[in-house]
Symmetry: C2
């Protein structure tokens, strides 16, 4: 594993780490339906707004979402559109339980 590869894996890890939290996954799911402001998301996750804001900062920092301020609200948009597809695959895998093969293969 050379330097270039290390960097690649660290970069990937950063994105996955950002995604690897239930609340943030909920946010990603919600944003896959369209942009939402912080207050909308806060109401949905029922946590302190500062907590939600920090979760959004983590996602933004990992380039998973982007933000746009309009008036005194900040709207967040999902950037990583392949996420829902991947989650579907992950869930499929888990449902299959202990099977050896799964139909979620995407290698030619």
């Amino acid at each position: 594993m050379n330097q270039k590869d290390s960097t690649r894996y660290e970069t990937r890890a950063k994105v996955l780490k950002a995604l690897a939290h239930p609340t943030r996954l909920f946010i990603v799911d919600e944003l896959s339906k369209g942009e939402r402001c912080v207050c909308e998301l806060t109401e949905m996750v029922r946590a302190d707004i500062s907590t939600v804001s920090k979760h959004l900062a983590v996602l933004k920092n990992a380039h998973v979402v982007s933000d746009e301020k309009r008036g005194n609200q900040v709207f967040y948009t999902l950037r990583i559109h392949c996420a829902p597809e991947f989650f579907r695959c992950v869930e499929h895998l888990l449902e299959e339980g202990s099977r050896e093969t799964n139909p979620c293969t995407s290698q030619g």
Copy 2:
């Protein structure tokens, strides 16, 4: 967000958390080429074998890999075949930098 949803996001998070480490991502990449034993992986990542073993345990626990003992070696196999595809998408996203759209969209 109801109980069922919470569980769903926790389940997803578990898998993503398992993936969210440079060394484990390297392992996943390597296993995408075929099964490997612990000693092979250990040599490649140049870390203590106990560390590698623990990383593999994390991946196994999240159903990302499965293991099979043959002789006195343990061979690990990748189960989550959609991972490489997803990583490709993630990297694409990061290369695009700050663009609004990216071609990695997989929603019809």
